[in-house]
Symmetry: none
Subunit: 170 residues, 2 copies
DNA sequence: GGCTTATGAATGAAGG
DNA sequence: CCTTCATTCATAAGCC
């Protein structure tokens, strides 16, 4: 309001919203292509500065939230207003959640199966420069590197072409 | 609110993102092989539980969005590239808070004149009814999906035997 | 003025 | 690879 066009996020004008909604609802343009997005952006630029990504995100959000609305309305299960006693913004605390997701038979699966929680153990300063750099070649690679051991890798310079897509698919 | 399993998707730590970005930007690792993905995953596991698919998806998304960014369709505001190199644990708190996206020359800077709320004098008679009524798939040189297929020649062939060895032995 | 809501922006994950 | 979905974060707007 007092900051009509700061360097913050895009604030669409009513005309821009009207045009976008016409496209979405009337014209049935739910997922414009790249060229369409660029065209729409060009047209909406007349009203106010706007970038392609604004239009891109707008349609994406529109789809997502239309679906969300529809889903919430369909569920006739009375939704308890759980926000009644909770104030102050929910903090997502599962930062250190212990997840052992299962993914079967692909690269997504870790062979060594050394899932364990290595939350706080600032043992040695391994920075990104070291990943492909100096690696101590010990046989600790597959074992538990949690709890104090460091990771060691054989950089075997493997050259066997690309594994096909079939490798990932379940 | 209703977290289905409460441990859904991977939440990368700032260190993990930093390392991945360094691999992608500095080391030029754009499409890691299966072995590289597994190796990177092992490294990043030190910080927090992570699976191969997370790394794999990260690189895939990075490639896709870097390409989209060139068309101004997305922006890329990741963790600011702090390479102070002193402490490995200093966390930057402006996580996604409109940080300066100067990472590697973003092309999405095009601040121009702002028409604010004026709504007269249409430059071209294209007001929402004509946006797609006049689709002629111009889209000049950039796209060209439909017509002449140019040879892309991706040629990844991830065997790093030529010069790519440089980032193995840094 | 805080709190709630609406929505722009971002990104992990997956589909095709 | 390109596109889309799902979820989350961040913030302007709206309401007491």
């Amino acid at each position: 309001m007092h900051c009509k066009q700061c360097n913050t996020r895009w604030l669409p004008t009513t005309d821009q919203i009207r045009i976008l909604k016409e496209l979405y609802d009337d014209k049935g343009v739910k997922s414009p292509t790249v060229e369409q997005v660029q065209r729409i952006t060009l047209q909406l630029k007349w009203y106010r500065q706007i970038e392609n990504k604004n239009v891109f995100y707008w349609f994406q959000n529109q789809r997502a939230r239309e679906k969300l609305k529809k889903k919430n309305l369909t569920s006739d299960v009375q939704v308890p207003k759980q926000r009644s006693g909770l104030v102050g913004g929910s903090i997502n605390l599962n930062f250190g959640s212990t997840s052992s997701a299962d993914v079967g038979g692909s690269i997504m699966e870790q062979r060594g199966e050394d899932h364990q929680e290595v939350k706080t153990l600032p043992l040695f300063p391994m920075h990104s420069e070291d990943i492909f750099g100096n690696m101590k070649t010990t046989s600790d690679g597959g074992g538990g590197h949690g709890g104090g051991s460091y990771i060691s890798l054989e950089l075997s310079l493997s050259c066997e072409g690309k594994a096909g897509k079939s490798f990932w698919s379940r």
